[in-house]
């Protein structure tokens, strides 16, 4: 049975899975390789020759780093806003029985079940009708709105799987409501909140469709990339894409290592 075909059949899942992974990673590889390119002409789509110029001067293109820092600012505020609002909603939904619970649940679910362009267009309709100037604030408002549901989903999942007896035990030991929340509830819910916040940050930082509709003349990083696809793509875009990928992998791996250590330190 040691024929190649038998081996192939036994490892079909592994081969197909790794194939998909390659499909997922391939563009990142291309982005990395092309960050060392020295293109001729406006576009960076064909390989010319090796160069470190773009890495030495990542802000060498007008407006690029400005748009980057704007996107970072918006992502930080959007994450903060969505995480606070979303966590409160998640706790209310999991911990309390009240009227209109079903309605609230559907209201939370709807933004996730709608093509992004529909939300983008309707927000624009609101801002146009109200005569609100498009820019930083309209982008921030929109980002908090669409990140909110994802935070609620992430925190809800975590709080649902949490044992309520832990809080009862804290109360039995004479912890007040505030103390119970800060020292028992919040630490247990923290991974869910962190996941929601991380997702918000990524979604906001990378959002294009909603920002495209509601940014006016304000240029966030995705808007800059979009414009560069028409005007000419500087190599610096690939440098930043590569750096983002590396930083993301490191942050997530570090987070998991810390999580694993905690798990080992206090077995359930």
């Amino acid at each position: 049975m040691r024929t190649p075909i038998a081996w192939l059949r036994r490892n079909l899942v592994v081969i197909a899975g790794l194939g998909t992974l390659a499909y997922l990673i391939l563009p990142n590889v291309v982005v990395t390789v092309f960050s060392f390119n020295n293109p001729t002409g406006r576009f960076n789509y064909a390989w010319q020759e090796f160069s470190l110029d773009a890495w030495k001067d990542p802000c060498g293109v007008a407006d690029l780093c400005g748009s980057l820092s704007l996107s970072l600012q918006i992502a930080v505020w959007a994450t903060l806003g969505a995480t606070v609002l979303g966590t409160a909603i998640a706790f209310a939904l999991v911990r309390y029985r009240f009227r209109a619970r079903g309605a609230v649940n559907s209201l939370i679910f709807l933004p996730m079940a709608m093509p992004e362009i529909v939300m983008a267009a309707s927000l624009l309709a609101l801002f146009l009708n109200m005569g609100i100037r498009l820019g930083f604030w309209t982008i921030l408002i929109a980002h908090i709105m669409f990140c909110l549901s994802f935070v609620v989903a992430a925190v809800k999942a975590r709080v649902l799987s949490m044992d309520p007896r832990l809080e009862e035990a804290a109360r039995d030991l004479y912890a007040g409501p505030v103390q119970t929340f800060l020292r028992v509830t919040l630490p247990i819910a923290a991974p869910g909140i962190a996941a929601g916040a991380l997702l918000s940050f990524a979604l906001s930082f990378d959002d294009f469709i909603i920002t495209n509709f509601n940014s006016g003349n304000t240029v966030t990083f995705p808007m800059f990339v979009w414009g560069s696809a028409q005007r000419g793509t500087p190599v610096q875009i690939n440098v930043i894409g590569t750096a983002m990928f590396v930083i993301a992998v490191l942050v997530v791996l570090a987070g998991q290592t810390i999580g694993n250590r905690r798990k080992k330190a206090q077995p359930e």
Binding site: G17, T20, V30, A46, A113, A125, G241
Partner: protein, 309 residues
């Protein structure tokens, strides 16, 4: 004297603390909900109302728009753009099926076979989220470039003959054809398929696999009768998370496609931001929403899963 009068005084003093918190407690969920729900009502529900009113307005940018209950816009918008609607559903549907076919093995691999590599694989699935998806989509221009190695191989194995026959490509190029758009859509939404699939596969008790094996089920049968049915919640939420955003996407069609691959998202975008015909744009966006909601409702009924989130 004071000793006998003290207790009645103390009683009302201790009573309210027991009573008051319960009253306050009943209001707690509403205070928790208020800010977030208010945000959604003002910036999600109210905009829909405004868009609805925009869709029944007539006028021009110079003279201003007025609500005239002109429902004809809906019919005109729909009939003018039937090809774009059909194309959107076709591309999004194809991308969803491809995502399922490609994503399932990887989710299965991570859930059951990865061992100590599990975390690394998960990170590699999630990490692209953090690199701008526009940059990665532009990278596909390089990968699928005319005369490039990928197109060369696809040509050699006769793949492009098949796709040309299907109308997905033209001649020996991939860029600026429907195939490139579907490839980009599949790529962009693949993580949204893999993660829910992984979550539901990971929850499966592997002893069920062993039990099926003990009952002489072959691996393929175990998959068909045990694993796949138990992963249905993941399949349903994964297909929804892929199909819904893909149906409204215009980035892939714009960057990787041509004028012949315009999807309804491209039309809505240009009507709102370039042509400035707000009523038509609003009507188109509501028609898209209605089509998606109807299809999703039917799909959820058929698939029979209620617990989505």
């Amino acid at each position: 004297m004071s000793a006998t009068t003290a207790p009645p005084q103390a009683a009302p003093a201790t009573d309210p603390p027991v009573h008051k918190p319960s009253m306050r407690k009943r209001l707690v969920p509403y205070w928790l909900l208020l800010p977030g729900i208010l945000w959604l009502l003002v910036f999600f529900v109210l905009p829909m109302v405004y868009q609805a009113s925009t869709s029944v307005q007539t006028g021009s940018l110079e003279e201003g728009f007025k609500v005239t209950w002109h429902f004809q816009t809906y019919w005109d918008a729909f009939t003018d753009y039937v090809p774009q609607f059909l194309r959107s559903l076709l591309y999004a549907g194809t991308a969803t099926v491809l995502c399922l076919l490609l994503g399932y093995p990887l989710a299965y691999l991570i859930a059951f076979k990865a061992g100590r590599w599990r975390n690394l694989l998960l990170v590699l699935v999630i990490a692209p989220f953090f690199t701008s998806f526009l940059i990665r989509t532009l990278a596909w221009k390089t990968i699928l470039a005319d005369g490039g190695p990928v197109v060369g191989v696809l040509n050699k194995i006769g793949f492009l003959d098949v796709t040309s026959w299907l109308g997905m490509t033209e001649g020996d190029r991939v860029l600026a054809t429907p195939l490139a758009v579907v490839c980009g859509l599949t790529y962009n939404f693949l993580p949204f398929m893999i993660l829910p699939l992984y979550t539901s596969l990971e929850r499966i008790d592997t002893r069920l696999h062993e039990a099926a094996g003990d009952l002489y089920a072959r691996p393929a049968t175990v998959f068909r009768k045990v694993t796949f049915p138990l992963s249905m919640p993941g399949v349903v939420s994964g297909t929804l998370l892929t199909f819904i955003p893909a149906s409204g996407d215009y980035v892939n069609a714009e960057l990787l496609g041509s004028a012949d691959t315009r999807m309804i998202g491209n039309v809505i975008q240009s009507q709102y931001l370039r042509i400035l015909d707000y009523p038509t744009a609003a009507a188109l966006s509501f028609i898209l929403m209605a089509i998606v909601l109807i299809m999703v409702t039917i799909y959820i009924r058929r698939a029979g899963t209620e617990d989505l989130v």
